[in-house]
Amino acid sequence: MKISGAEILIESLKKEGVDTVFGIPGGVVLQIFDVLYNEKDIRFILNRHEQGSTHAADGYARATGKTGVALVTSGPGATNTVTGIATAHMDSIPLVVITGQVATKMIGNDAFQEADIVGITRPCTKYNFLVKDVNDLARTIKEAFYIAKTGRPGPVLIDVPKDVSSARTDFLYPEKISLRSYNPTYYGNKWQIKQAAQAIARSKRPVIYAGGGVILSNAHKELREMAEFNRIHVTLTLMGLGGFPGTHPLFLGMLGMHGTYAANMAIHESDLVIAIGARFDDRVTGKVTEFAPRAKFIHIDIDPTNIRKNIHVDIPIVGDVRNVLIELNKELRILEEQKTDWNADRKPWHAQIRDWEDEHPLSYKKNTKKIKPQYVIEKVYELTGGDAIVSTDVGQHQMWVAQFFKFDQPRTCLTSGGLGTMGFGLPAALGAQAAYPDKMVFNFAGDGSFQMNSQEIATAVANNLPVKVAILNNGSLGMVRQWQELFFNRHYSGSILGNTPDYVKLAEAYGAVGLRAVTSSEVEAVIKEAISIKRPVIIDFVVEPEENVYPMVPAGGGNCDMIFAPEEKEKSGKDAKRRKVKKNSILLA
């Protein structure tokens, strides 16, 4: 029986197990939306901007581990998805974005709402397709989902011309697919894994540096096993948060530009850095030549291009993180049986790490009147019992969340790490909430970031997605303001927002609940109230506007040259001498 391209598309999505699609209709996708009209198995969520659709699909994918799907029209609908696609691409998130296209014979004619979206998104997708023949449609969709989810995941775009949606053909969905030019490596080289195990056994000062790959390959259990039985401390990248329990005694916190002192010092003094599903991003390494200068590197990654891209690696292992860790743990167990307790050699190292942790723990100066943004995050953590999916936007609040919210579970921290997309948080939270209607979903936003996709409150209300948005309102683009304060003579050029809307009224105008806290004492009650309301809530926390994120490694600096909060500086001066002595002692150890 022949069915239309539009029907093939929706049937194919169902074959792929898609239950939720985010998007906005338009001229050339009317055929497809007409099929969706009677579709019971797929929930369509109408966003208010296509950027919101891709971020929502992205949030859905990050929270569930499934592939997120967005469906939009041609031209502006398609171009609006680009930021969302690029965000997913940088963070290796599996998405399938379906864009309508003008009819095949009109392509290239500058037709109404025509854009060469395949050309535009070529550098920011893992792969993209223009389907020119309805007979290719089903196989293309199969390939798109296969490519998006396998290997190093990423966004795939399918451009479907109007006449392809309306043309009719037999529907044959391929069961399996293989591409001769695409064969990701899933299992690490055995010899390399043995080498890695031996290097770990020999190491006196090892550190695990793990990233988003741990979450993408569902390797959190294996990572924990490795860290625990070897007694190796773990530091995570922003993308890795949740991949190792934030409350675990072996957890050092995040590393890098706004990482903890202990994490950065441990890396700096380490003799073996075990990089797992991380890519040595510049925000992590700081000045590359000063990143772990005394260490050997083991690097486990599924993407060979990540290896030796930024840093020399001694033992590269290309493969799926989980598969490699399973093998590596086996090898380590064998070595452990042969050798006497190698952990004895590491006692001085563990003591040194404890000292670093005591020396500069993450902290902020409490204030009983003005709301400290960190306090809000701590309170949300406390009042939700940490049992929440948290999305963030980008900037100061994002770093504070990374520092002060203790993520114990993978897929609970949704944040734009690579591209650093402001406006990501709210739509991503909607995506996660759509996947988990009964979970508490919090979006921490800055007032700058929030305004970049605030139209999505309408989506939340209309689709009954009861997300809680905590705006840490400091009246500025805080991270920009912080850099200007520290490095540009306090020239607050373009970073002060000036006239900002009344967020409570804005929430109410959209039909959501608006709450506000202006003093520290109000914070707890407001959060409790928000949690108790089963509707979308926007909370305006009017926070201390001059609060900065510390510690901080200035751009281009080495990670051991951290700037601390002014009140911390005094303390670090006093400790400097003591620390120097300790450093030497550890090097001799």
């Binding site: 070529r122 893992k126 792969y127 223009l130 490519i147 001769r180 030019s181 695409y182 291009t305 290896i307």
Partner: protein
């Protein structure tokens, strides 16, 4: 690390947009393309791309890895690691309005084993195939006559077939 020229041979799926993906990879990551040439390969569903690029060891490693990562790329070979043949073809249109220029042009053509493939009362078009040095040399000799136009294909290259010889007899072959 020293910068050197590499010829990279890329077997790709013969689909629209593939060349753009390969070229885009170079431009997007700031890699350099000296020349690029494309044509059909043994199987009609594949194409062979030959890229001449420059870079230090780390950059060349990234280029080959990134190329391999492209979904449509089937095989990447850095010919610098192999023994290979390289050729380039040029079509050179020269001014021959004076009779003595014509005989000079023919003489030079003969020395280089090139061919005159087209002529008009005022021009010759010379076809030459060889390595880069040979083509540069003939261009330099023809230049005094007045070159109107040059079209070069860019390099194409192919690895020499591996000959299995006992290790004792193996000698380092000279590159063409």
């Amino acid at each position: 690390m020293s910068v050197s020229q590499h010829i990279i041979s890329i077997l790709v799926e013969n689909k629209f947009g593939v060349l753009s993906r390969v070229a885009g990879l170079f431009s997007g990551r700031g890699f350099n393309i000296d020349s690029i040439s494309v044509g059909p390969s043994v199987e009609p569903s594949t194409s062979q791309i030959t890229v001449v690029t420059k870079g230090d060891e780390r950059i060349i490693e990234q280029i080959t890895k990134q190329l391999n990562k492209l979904i449509d790329v089937i095989k990447v070979v850095d010919l610098a690691e192999k023994d290979y043949l390289v050729r380039e073809t040029a079509l050179i249109k020269i001014n021959t309005s004076r009779a003595e220029d014509r005989s000079e042009a023919l003489r030079i053509t003969e020395i280089f084993r090139a061919r005159v493939v087209d002529s008009t009362p005022v021009t010759y078009t010379v076809e030459i195939t060889g390595d880069e040095n040979k083509i540069d040399a003939i261009i330099n000799l023809l230049r005094p006559l007045g070159i109107k136009e040059i079209v070069r294909t860019g390099k194409i290259a192919i690895a020499r077939e591996d000959v299995k010889v006992p290790a004792m007899l193996e000698v380092k072959r000279v590159r063409a």
